[in-house]
């Protein structure tokens, strides 16, 4: 059964059509990417799922229940890390649990065993400003994971990093994902990233966004840290062509 199922979802904000008849689904343990040009409305899908905006038509179900009654099935990681600069790392990590009403001591006990895997051991008492971009991103991801939500929503999690750090982070993330198998929906405009991490990829058009292609990535994992396989290469080329063709006319 799909953990998440969006059917024929449309959204208009202030007279501008943002999403047009979007249908997508996500199965347990699956890694799915939404790939599209900048400003296509990829992030808006996440805003729908986290309840920041309401869709005009279509249905969204989460584990078979309509979204409205099950609003908080998602662990959301925003584009920039959104760490609170006035909180030490440990208190940033436990924010989600704190919101759920879990006592500070219990929340810390829940997060602490995860620190090592996220390379944050020994940095819990630091403020976010004292951390490198990659570490901040890992902290933001751990804050998302720690909420124990059934689905992760990652909004261009590596977009703000420099190229080298991004490559390192992607490889690190792939390793973590292979052990944990989080059900993940990733928003990105980076073709290589989408192909390297995903089981399936939805390609979105320019605004108003429609799903123009759904591509399976059968290439074996791990895919990062080694030469790109011929399969993956072909898919990258295919995706790039779809994206370039649909944006071509506006150039």
């Amino acid at each position: 059964m799909s953990v998440l199922d969006m059917r024929n979802v449309s959204l208009t904000i202030g007279g501008t059509a943002i999403l047009d008849d979007i249908s997508l689904h996500l199965a347990e343990g699956e890694f799915v990417s939404i790939l599209g040009p900048s400003g296509a409305g990829k992030s808006t899908i996440f805003r729908l799922l986290t309840g920041a905006v309401l869709h005009d038509s279509g249905t969204i179900t989460c584990n078979g229940q309509p979204l409205a009654t099950n609003q908080h099935g998602f662990g959301f990681m925003p584009q920039r890390d959104a760490l609170m600069p006035w909180r030490r790392i440990i208190d940033n990590l436990t924010l989600g649990l704190e919101v759920q009403g879990i006592r500070r001591k219990d929340a810390r006990a829940h997060v602490t065993p995860l620190l090592a895997d996220f390379g944050l051991d020994g940095f819990t008492d630091h403020y976010p400003a004292q951390l490198s971009g990659g570490m901040r991103q890992r902290a933001a991801l751990l804050r998302t994971i720690a909420q124990n939500r059934p689905v992760l929503l990652l909004d261009e999690p590596f977009g703000a990093l420099d190229a080298l750090t991004r490559t390192q982070m992607q490889a690190w993330f792939e390793k973590r994902w292979r052990t944990a198998r989080w059900t993940t929906l990733l928003v990105t405009h980076d073709v290589r990233e989408a192909v390297a991490l995903s089981d399936r990829i939805y390609v979105l058009s320019r605004r108003p966004a429609r799903v123009t292609a759904e591509v399976h990535v059968p290439a074996p994992r791990p895919r990062l840290g080694r030469p790109v396989s011929a399969d993956a290469h072909a898919i990258e080329a295919q995706l790039l062509e779809i994206l370039l063709n649909q944006t071509g006319e506006s150039l």
Partner: protein, 262 residues
């Protein structure tokens, strides 16, 4: 090389040197002018004479500093509570903000010279009118700072908290309020410098005791040296209050120093 240990206080002291030098030299020039020109102390007393007066009249000055301090603290406490309470109400109810904000702005346009005697007329010669006047003068910078500070919260942090299922109150407490703290301290620093002056002005208009009364009496008996003695005390009070806020800010906004030091 090791710069770490004495860094903060050491740098602070070195940074303070130009300020101390300029103040000391200003007093020195003043002293020199009075001595060389032979101007009457009834016109312009020398700093040394003002200092002598402080020592001579220390009992009188102390007895009158206490009521001023009381008015300042009570007024400021009231002002802080009103500013915070109002800021919360205004933040949760934007409509109320639009309705009430103009009133607060108007309250800051009232000339104190006209308002102070009226407040004294209405509330008598006791503590109440001073407390009210101190509060009237000091609440606005803090209120504006808080309201602006809440509005400056990173929208991504609020979206994040909403995605976690946070209530409006949780978002306020964990995101909006801490975001406003740097702004609040900027407002607090302005407010605190008005507080003592407002208390003294309120006393000047009508009171039984206080530095304002000392100044009034000294002026009426042609004692500029005593006027200035009271002024020195009043300035010292403001400086101490300012230092306390700076200290408080350093503790509360520790996370900002970390950032600045990078």
């Amino acid at each position: 090389m090791q710069f770490d240990v004495p860094r903060r206080s050491g740098r602070g002291l070195i940074r303070g040197i130009p300020a101390v030098l300029s103040v000391v030299s200003a007093f020195f020039i003043w002293e020199l002018y009075v001595r060389l020109s032979g101007i009457s102390p009834l016109m312009l007393p020398a700093p040394s004479r003002v200092l002598d007066q402080i020592v001579l009249n220390r009992a009188l000055l102390w007895d009158n500093t206490v009521p001023t301090l009381k008015a300042t603290f009570a007024g400021f406490a009231l002002s802080l509570n009103v500013a915070f309470g109002l800021s919360v109400v205004l933040d949760f109810m934007p409509r109320v903000r639009r309705a009430l904000f103009p009133i607060f702005v108007v309250s800051q346009t009232l000339p104190l010279v006209a308002i102070a005697p009226l407040v004294v007329l209405w509330f008598g010669f006791d503590l109440t009118p001073k407390v009210l006047l101190v509060a009237l003068v000091t609440f606005f910078p803090m209120l504006v700072a808080l309201v602006d500070g809440y509005a400056a919260t990173d929208p991504e942090i609020e979206d994040l908290m909403r995605s976690m299922g946070a209530t409006r109150c949780q978002i306020f407490r964990s995101a909006r309020f801490p975001s406003a703290m740097p702004y609040f301290f900027a407002g607090l620093r302005i407010s605190i410098t008005y507080a003592v002056v407002a208390a003294i002005f309120a006393e000047y208009v009508g009171a039984r005791a206080g530095l304002g009364i000392v100044i009034l009496n000294a002026k009426n008996s042609f004692r500029p040296d005593l006027v200035l003695a009271a002024v020195v005390i009043s300035s010292a009070l403001t400086l101490v209050l300012f230092a306390i806020t700076a200290l408080l800010q350093r503790v509360v906004l520790r996370w900002r120093d970390v950032e600045g030091n990078r």
